[in-house]
Amino acid sequence: MASLPELQARFAAALRGNASPMEPDVVGDGLEAAGRLDIYRNNSRAVFEGALERTYPVLRRRVGEDYFRQLAHGYRQRFPSRSGDLHGVGEHFARHLAGTEAESGYAWLAELAELEWACECAFVAAREQPVGPQALAGLTPDELALTRLRLQPSLRGVSSSFPVLDVWRANQPDADGHAVDLARGGQCVLVSCGVDGLELVEVSAAALAFTQQLQAGAPLGSAVDESGLDLAELPGLLGMLFSGSLVTGVTGPAMEGAPK
């Protein structure tokens, strides 16, 4: 009689598609062991694909069911689920596609996957209480340059060489899925999640770099310097961050280091 570890090892091998001698372990009763194990193998595959599809609905819509299934199969071979929580199974999908699709004419799929993974992460991130722009009121230019902004944990930045935001927008459930000219060029996107759901905003490359500098803890002055942001763009960008409830703390010499 097989021990519990032996039985689970053989069952797991069968689920992985390996030849597994389970006939002696399973009661047939009108359906042999292989047929019964097929049900579990299909269940496990379908559950994985379903989770991936929920994370990447735009990619799934663009490539169709059959090709998505092929992609999911290849991905699962390389990155099988390691958790009883399925929400993270898509974590490496963009990296996987970058490796497998680069030469296929579908290189943009990896960037689209990166955008959809940013959406997934933003959607489940903690939401902190936002602060208003009055937190910056009365600061001198020197004080402003040394001020740090804390941003919502949900905020993500994505930079692509293909117009993935346009593809994403054209393939939302209420959109017509029209073709996007992939030669149009890249896009930089800020992704966040507010009380009403996901927000995706196209920004300049410098604005994205500036935001990422802020997220890394840089004060406003050095964030501008490091990102190459045109100062004329700064008021509008800060306005967008504040009006989008994306700023959750302001610290600097004028506030004695205390979050406002």
Partner: protein
């Protein structure tokens, strides 16, 4: 229905009918506040730090008693218990203060790979000890009792020396856990692996059953064999209602949940199914009075 949706949101799950809450119904539930006695969610869907789904459950939680039902712990796996998964279960319990917490009598991972399925255990003394000791360890770490649900199965093992009910009764005795009786699973198993579903229900330790699940299944022909797929994608079939009546005639009025996970219909359909269960529970109460 007899239960009020706002009467007892922080208390125990009432011995009435509830519904499984899925994200498709978050908005409708809070807006319509249907008269169901309680709600249950899959614990793993609320593991995150924030987001609209957590907010929706917090709002629903204000109006309904809650049960957290885990699908991912794979308690019977020979693999070590996933401590990070368990920590997130603990965090969900702390956040939502559920009246009931449940998992399955199954395994799910091997050598680190998780199959994200509820895989069957052999009904052996070895498996009793393994599962019960895991359940007891989880209960110790969570600081509370959990319920263990009987599985739907597509195979049975030649090594099983116990019946399914003897197996579950032994786990309950050794671990001190409760039971979640899925009546649909018992029916599915009667077709798929020849379980005597009434004997199964009659053989469970009655005092341990603290919750019942009801759901639909799909009939599929595999070669010469009919197999029932436990897909939770349709109304509760008549045969399952009859088995449910048998169960509550023995067990009394037990909190009963309508589960629906695929082809999810309007919320009103789930509420209607819950009303059907509630009428049967009221009938049992009437007999007892």
């Amino acid at each position: 229905m007899s239960s009020s949706p706002t009467a007892n949101s922080s208390g125990p799950v009432p011995a009435g009918a509830g519904i499984g809450l899925r994200s498709a119904h978050h908005e409708a539930l809070v807006r319509e506040r249907p008269a169901v006695g309680w709600i249950e969610v899959h614990t793993e869907n609320y593991f995150h730090d924030g987001g609209p789904h957590l907010t929706a459950l917090e709002r629903a939680r204000e109006a309904y008693p809650l049960s957290l039902h885990g699908v991912g712990m794979g308690l019977g796996s020979v693999d070590p218990i996933d401590r990070s998964h368990l920590a997130r279960v603990a965090r969900a319990i702390e956040r939502f203060e559920p009246a009931l917490v449940s998992e399955h009598a199954c395994w799910g991972s091997h050598d680190g790979e998780n199959f994200n399925d509820l895989l069957p255990l052999p009904y052996t003394d070895e498996a009793v000890v393994h599962l019960a000791d895991r359940v007891a360890e989880v209960q110790d770490l969570l600081g509370r009792q959990i319920l263990i649900e009987n599985l739907s199965c597509y195979l049975s093992y030649s090594s099983s020396r116990l019946t399914e009910w003897e197996f579950l009764a032994a786990v309950v005795e050794r671990a001190g856990c409760g039971l979640l009786l899925d009546v649909n699973n018992a029916y599915v198993n009667s077709v798929n692996v020849g379980l005597d579903a009434k004997a199964f229900i009659d053989g469970l330790p009655a005092g341990a059953v603290q919750e019942i699940h009801l759901a639909g299944h799909t009939r599929r022909q595999v070669g010469e064999r009919t197999i029932l797929l436990d897909d939770h994608g349709s109304r509760v079939p008549e045969a399952v209602w009859r088995l449910y009546e048998h169960a509550i005639a023995r067990l009394g009025a037990v909190p009963t949940l309508i589960e629906w996970d695929t082809n999810v219909p309007d919320l009103s359909v789930l509420v209607d199914e819950a009303a059907r269960a509630q009428r049967r529970l009221d009938g049992v109460r009437g007999l007892a009075a």
